[in-house]
C-alpha cells in the first residue's frame, strides 16, 4: 500500500507540515531532534491523531481530509509498535498477539494457532504463556512487534522501537528488526533518534526539524550530503555492510575492514565516524589496522572543520582541521591514504544467530 501524506497538523505552539509519498516495500526512517514532530507524524498516518488541513491517502482512498472524512486507526490496516510497547497487562503474550486477529474476526482457535505459529517463527514461542509484566524489555519489544505484524497489516509503524531496551539487548533486537523489516512487504515507517538505526533499517531517511522536512534521501545520500548541522552531526557517518568473522568484516566488493569485535559472525554492518578516519599523503606506518588508498572527490567546510570525501574501497568521509588541510595540500583529485583503528570501527550484527531459540 502506498501512502500519500500532504497535511498540516497544528497543536499548541507546534505545527507539523509534510508532503510525502511513501511506497510499499520501502522502509522509511523518520529522524530528528526531540519535539520535531516525529511521533505526531506517525500518529497522524496511523489515525491516532487528526490532521488540521490537507489530506492523507492510502493508495487512492482518502482516510483523513481534515473535514468530513476520517477513517479511524482500526480501519487503516496498520500495525503500530508503541515506544513503551503498551502490551495488554491482563492478557498473556499469546493472547496479546492473537488480539488483532480476534478483533478482525478470526475464531478463537484459529487466532491462537496463527499467533502460536508467528511466535514460533519469531523465536519467542517459549514466552506464549507469560504475562507482559514478567518480560524483559527486549522480550516485550519482540512481542509488541509480533502483535503488530500478526494480522498482516499493509502499513507498519514503529515508534522508537529500540529506545526502551538496554544496551546489551539492543544489538540483538536491532538485528532481529532488520530481518523482520526486510521481510515486510508493506509500507513501513520507523521513528528513531538513533542514526545507526536509521542507516541500518531504512531505504530512505526523512529528517524532521521543527515540524518541517529538511531532508529526504537515501541513507548514503544523507550521510554524504547533510543539509543541516543536525543531520551532519548525527547522520554523517561512514557505513559499511558485509559479512563478519574473526574480527574482520568483508564487503561484497571484497574490501576488508578490521573490527574490534571478534565474536561477531555473519551478516554485519560497521560504522566509522568521520573524525575517526585519518588522511595521509604517504602510506602510514602505525597501529591503525585499516589502511587503504583513495582519491579526494570533494572538500567542504563544515562548522569549524573540513569534510573530505574520498573515493575509495570502501568510500569514506573524513573530518580534518583547516590546518591539516593546508599541511596536506589536498585538492579534489589528490591521491591519499586512509587509516582507521579497528576500535573505531563499530560493528553491528545484521542477522540473528541461526541456531537455537532465544531466551
Amino acid at each position: 500500500m502506498n501512502v500519500l501524506a500532504r497535511f498540516t497538523l497544528e497543536r499548541e505552539a507546534f505545527t507539523l507540515r509534510v508532503d510525502l509519498a511513501l511506497r510499499a516495500g520501502e522502509v522509511t526512517a523518520i529522524v530528528g531532534p526531540n519535539g520535531a514532530g516525529k511521533t505526531s507524524l506517525l500518529r497522524a498516518l496511523a489515525g491516532l491523531e487528526r490532521i488540521s488541513a490537507g489530506e492523507i491517502r492510502l493508495d487512492e482512498r482518502i482516510v483523513d481530509d481534515a473535514r468530513k472524512v476520517f477513517v479511524g486507526p482500526k480501519d487503516r490496516s496498520s500495525g503500530y509498535v508503541f515506544q513503551n510497547y503498551v502490551l495488554f497487562p491482563h492478557l498473556s503474550v499469546l493472547e496479546n498477539v492473537a488480539f488483532g486477529l480476534r478483533s478482525r474476526g478470526a475464531k478463537r482457535r484459529e487466532a491462537r494457532q496463527r499467533a502460536e505459529r508467528l511466535l514460533l517463527r519469531m523465536g519467542i514461542a517459549s514466552l506464549a504463556a507469560r504475562r507482559p509484566s514478567s518480560l524483559s524489555g527486549g522480550q516485550a519489544q519482540r512481542v509488541a512487534l509480533a502483535r503488530a505484524l500478526a494480522s498482516q497489516p499493509a502499513l507498519l509503524f514503529l515508534d522508537e522501537p529500540l529506545s526502551a531496551a538496554d544496551a546489551e539487548t539492543k544489538n540483538e533486537l536491532r538485528a532481529g528488526l532488520v530481518e523482520r523489516l526486510a521481510e515486510f512487504q508493506g509500507c513501513c515507517v520507523v521513528v528513531t533518534h538513533d542514526p545507526i538505526d536509521a542507516m541500518l533499517f531504512a531505504d530512505r531517511v526523512i529528517v524532521l526539524e521543527d515540524g518541517q522536512v529538511v531532508q529526504d534521501d537515501s541513507p548514503a545520500g544523507i550521510a554524504s550530503h547533510p543539509h543541516t548541522n543536525y543531520v551532519a552531526a548525527l547522520l554523517s557517518v561512514n557505513l559499511i555492510r558485509g559479512s563478519a568473522s574473526n574480527g574482520v568484516l568483508v564487503q561484497q566488493e571484497g574490501a576488508v575492514m578490521h573490527i574490534a569485535d571478534h565474536s561477531l559472525d555473519g551478516p554485519a554492518a560497521a560504522v566509522i565516524r568521520p573524525e575517526a578516519v585519518a588522511i595521509h599523503r604517504e602510506q602510514p606506518q602505525g597501529s591503525a589496522r585499516n589502511v587503504w588508498r583513495g582519491v579526494v572527490t570533494l572538500i567542504q567546510p563544515w562548522e569549524e572543520q573540513i569534510r573530505v570525501h574520498v573515493q575509495a574501497e570502501p568510500p569514506m568521509i573524513a573530518t580534518i582541521t583547516a590546518d591539516a588541510l593546508a599541511e596536506l595540500a589536498l585538492v579534489p583529485g589528490s591521491d591519499v591514504w586512509l587509516s582507521a583503528k579497528a576500535v573505531d570501527v563499530r560493528a553491528y550484527p545484521l542477522a540473528l544467530p541461526s541456531v537455537g531459540v532465544q531466551e
Binding site: G72, P73, K74, G79, F82, F88, P89, H90, F99, R104
Partner: protein
C-alpha cells in the same frame, strides 16, 4: 536527618487518637458483651430473622447488579467521553451520598410513588408499582449505594493510560470490543472495590428503604429494618441480628481483600 528518626508524637495527639479509636470500638465491644449468646442460634433461625437475612442478601446483590449495569457506563461517560456537562454529572452523582437517606426515600416516593411523576406512568401503563415492594427495596438501595460504585470505577477509568485503547484500535478492535476486552478488564480492581462498597452500603440501607418501601416482613423487611423493629420488642434479638450483620460485612471484607483490595493498592 535520617529517615528512621521519626518525630515524637505530641502527647495530646496520642490521647485524642486513642479516644477516637475507643469511640469507634466501644459500641462494638458493648454489643458483644450484651449479646444473648445462650439463645443466639434460636434467634437467628427464627422465621423473621431468616426472612430478613435472605431478603437483605438478595436485595443488596440485586441493587449492586443494577448499580453496576448502570453505574459503569455512567462512570465511563464522566471519565472518558469529554462530552459537555460531565462535570455537572459528576457532582450530581454525589448527591445521594450527601442527603439524609430518609430524604432520599421521600424523593423516591415523589418520583416513583403511585402519585409520583414516573410512578403514575408506570402504574397506569403497566399496572406496576414500586413502593412497598421488594423491587422498591432494590431501587432504594441502588439509589443510595450506586455513588460508591460510580466514584470508584470513575477513578479507575480516569487513571487508565489511554494508550491501551489506542493500541486496541490499531489492532482493529471496535470501540465496543476495546471497552469489553481492554478497558473493562483493566479497571477490574476498581470495579471490584466499587462493588464491595456498594454491596456493603446496600446491605446496611435503612432510611430510604423504610420510607419508600415500608417494613413488611418477608417483602421489604431487610436486616436493618428487622433490627429496628426488634429493638422495640426484644433488645436482645436486635443485638443478635446486629452481630449477624457485622459478621457478614467482616466475612465479605476478608474474603475479598486478597482478591480486590490488594490488587487495587498495587495497580
Amino acid at each position: 536527618m535520617s529517615s528512621s528518626a521519626r518525630p515524637r508524637a505530641p502527647w495530646f495527639l496520642v490521647v485524642l487518637a486513642l479516644l477516637a479509636l475507643a469511640l469507634l470500638i466501644a459500641p462494638l465491644v458493648a454489643l458483644l458483651t450484651r449479646a444473648p449468646w445462650g439463645s443466639f442460634a434460636e434467634i437467628l433461625t427464627s422465621p423473621v430473622a431468616r426472612d430478613a437475612l435472605r431478603l437483605s442478601v438478595i436485595t443488596a446483590t440485586a441493587a449492586t447488579a443494577l448499580a453496576t449495569v448502570l453505574g459503569v457506563p455512567l462512570a465511563w461517560l464522566i471519565a472518558r467521553s469529554g462530552l459537555p456537562g460531565t462535570g455537572v454529572a459528576r457532582s450530581l452523582v454525589l448527591v445521594p451520598l450527601l442527603i439524609p437517606p430518609v430524604v432520599s426515600g421521600v424523593a423516591l416516593l415523589a418520583a416513583f410513588g403511585r402519585r409520583g411523576a414516573l410512578g403514575q406512568f408506570l402504574y397506569d401503563h403497566f399496572g406496576f408499582q414500586l413502593p412497598f415492594t421488594t423491587a422498591g427495596v432494590v431501587l432504594a438501595e441502588a439509589f443510595v449505594a450506586m455513588p460508591f460504585l460510580v466514584i470508584a470505577v470513575e477513578g479507575g477509568f480516569r487513571s487508565l493510560n489511554s494508550q491501551f485503547e489506542e493500541a486496541a484500535a490499531t489492532l482493529g478492535a471496535s470501540s465496543w470490543t476495546t471497552f469489553r476486552r481492554v478497558t473493562l478488564p483493566l479497571v477490574a480492581p476498581a470495579l471490584g472495590a466499587g462493588m464491595v462498597l456498594c454491596w456493603a452500603r446496600a446491605l446496611g440501607e435503612f432510611g430510604a428503604t423504610i420510607t419508600f418501601a415500608g417494613n413488611f416482613p418477608g417483602v421489604t423487611q431487610t436486616m436493618p429494618l428487622a433490627v429496628y423493629q426488634a429493638l422495640e420488642s426484644d433488645p436482645s434479638v436486635a443485638i443478635a441480628l446486629s452481630l449477624m450483620l457485622i459478621a457478614i460485612c467482616v466475612v465479605v471484607l476478608i474474603a475479598l481483600r486478597g482478591r480486590i483490595i490488594r490488587p487495587l493498592a498495587t495497580a
